[in-house]
């Protein structure tokens, strides 16, 4: 099936893209599985969820980081575990949501009919803080020992200045995120004003999504991306303009407004980042992001946090969770996003909609 979609000043005629299956796996230091075992098991589940034989798969788009994986050209070893054997495969050293957007493009253009997108990060194998420090410019910010959490700290202190309301709701928002069993030793060093309950819990995370041009339970209705400057001093750290733009593009393409969205899965490293991100996509008003985290029924903060966190898997994890929530009846229209290092320099957003008249109940293999 084809559709016309708005694209700047013109309408483009494109192939429609559907999500047929998803899987998200979350574990910590599971000695029974190598990295490739973890990837294989999750991707295998996503294919089973989609009821798609591996032979029907035409293309594979992956997101993985060499340094996170401790393998200096990781997809050389890991791609075959993600069903890439004798397939058309590529790998982004970027967030999984960007990989999803590329996988979507491959079908949308008509060049393939099916595509698997997978992303992973295994925080238990490597030194997450050291890796985060290596992201920064060796001439300027690296000597300061800056990390991703450190940038979130900069963001959080700025947010508390701009939005005094945040202080009022942060305890309730943290409570809603919930306790996660086995989190001890998996929480990065905090940076003031951030508290442990507001931080991510490092995890061994694999996500996989099966896309097809055949009608399926959830349709990809729109996508957007944008990029910010590298230098932190050049950025609007609280306004998140790349996310704002990516979200607007995705909704415009879907011909929907943010008010129609009833499932939100917005990727962010810490609770403050997420509160600001909710404001950037227009899900709530200025200064009300933290309150939304505490109360908004379109969000599932406990579910998101319990998966654990490891770049570059999180954008695709948010998309997979959004698909699962739509299939499970949480809503009919979802906005999901993924952000890259360094400190969310690039953002990708997608709008996902329940496909009318399609059975959404088969294979709910969410974890």
């Amino acid at each position: 099936m084809r559709a016309t979609r708005p694209n700047d000043d013109e309408e483009v005629d494109v192939q429609r893209v559907y999500v047929h299956g998803t899987a998200v796996s979350s574990s910590w230091a599971d000695g029974s599985a190598s990295l490739t075992d973890l990837i294989f098991r999750c991707v295998r589940r996503a294919l089973d969820d989609a009821r798609m034989p591996v032979g029907d798969l035409e293309a594979v788009v992956l997101a993985a980081h060499d340094l996170v994986d401790g393998r200096s050209l990781t997809n050389m070893i890991t791609a075959p575990a993600a069903a890439a054997f004798l397939k058309d495969e590529t790998r982004l050293g970027d967030d999984g949501a960007a990989a999803f957007v590329l996988g979507d493009a491959r079908i949308r253009s008509g060049s393939v009919r099916t595509c698997l997108v997978a992303a992973w990060g295994r925080a238990s194998e490597g030194p997450a803080d050291d890796i985060a420090r290596a992201l920064f410019d060796p001439f300027t910010t690296r000597p300061l020992g800056m990390t991703e959490i450190g940038v979130s700290g900069l963001r959080a202190s700025r947010a508390l200045i701009e939005h005094p309301e945040y202080a009022e709701h942060r305890a309730a928002a943290a409570t809603r995120r919930g306790e996660v069993e086995g989190a001890a030793g998996r929480i990065p060093a905090a940076a003031w004003p951030l508290r442990d309950t507001e931080l991510p819990i490092w995890g061994d995370v694999v996500s996989a999504v099966v896309l097809s041009s055949e009608p399926g339970p959830v349709e990809v209705l729109g996508a957007g991306m944008s990029t910010e400057p590298f230098e932190l001093g050049d950025r609007d750290l609280t306004g998140l303009p790349a996310l704002r733009s990516a979200g607007e593009q995705a909704l415009r393409e879907a011909r929907r407004s943010i008010d129609e969205v009833d499932v939100l899965e917005i990727d962010a490293l810490t609770m403050f980042d997420e509160a600001l991100a909710l404001e950037a996509v227009g899900a709530t008003g200025s200064g009300r992001g933290m309150e939304a985290l505490a109360l908004d029924p379109r969000l599932d903060p406990a579910g998101a946090r319990s998966v654990g966190y490891c770049a570059p898997a999180m954008g695709l994890t948010r998309i997979a969770r959004a698909v699962q929530r739509v299939r499970e009846g949480d809503g009919a229209l979802a906005l999901a996003s993924g952000s890259s290092v360094v400190a969310a320099q690039t953002q990708a957003a997608v709008v996902l909609g329940r496909a009318e008249g399609h059975d959404t109940t088969h294979g709910r293999s969410c974890r």
Partner: protein
């Protein structure tokens, strides 16, 4: 990981300051050293434990393509199925491919050494490891001998610790 700014070689004043702020390129010494703990997973763990405890080389059989994959692994990437049928393979086999490492690089084994892919009897796939006991005083001569794809056998170290380096290959004929 740390990085310390240093002036480039040459043209620096005694106090370390450079003399030309426009043309003087600055370099920084950095280190790139990250520690990892790799999980071998259940199948490679069993493979290594069999080496260490029983001096046996194990593969896993894929019932779909009927191959015995050595070293053992938990899934067949060609058929994309989980596999868990264990097979012991022989300790002799054929040297299918080799190279003689002749140049020294930091962090890598001191040359000259030979590494090669060997298909052990009963295995469907070849396994990479060092080949010991080859006369390497003339590389072209040694190469000509190894190009005949000779039979080799597994030799275990005196002290196996559960690593791939617990064993190496040597020519069967070397003993004759």
């Amino acid at each position: 990981m740390s990085s310390t700014p240093v002036p480039p070689d040459g043209d620096a004043a005694a106090d370390g300051s450079t003399t030309d702020p426009v043309a003087e390129p600055v370099t920084i010494q950095g280190h790139w050293d990250f520690g990892y703990t790799y999980f071998a997973g259940a199948s490679a763990s069993r493979f290594f434990n069999e080496l260490r405890l029983n001096q046996r080389i194990m593969g896993t059989h894929c019932p779909t393509c009927d191959r015995v994959l050595v070293p053992a692994r938990g899934f067949c990437d060609a058929c994309y199925v989980e596999i868990d049928e264990w097979r012991e393979v022989g300790t002799e086999g054929t040297l299918d491919s080799f190279t003689i490492l002749t140049t020294s690089f930091p962090g890598l084994p001191e040359p000259p050494t030979v590494v090669g892919y060997v298909t052990l009897d009963g295995a469907s796939t070849a396994l990479l490891n060092a080949v010991h006991g080859i006369d390497l005083h003339d590389f072209d001569e040694a190469g000509a001998l190894l190009l005949t794809q000779p039979r080799v056998r597994v030799v275990f170290s005196d002290k196996c610790e559960g690593r791939i380096t617990d064993f190496a290959f040597e020519l069967v004929a070397a003993d004759a």
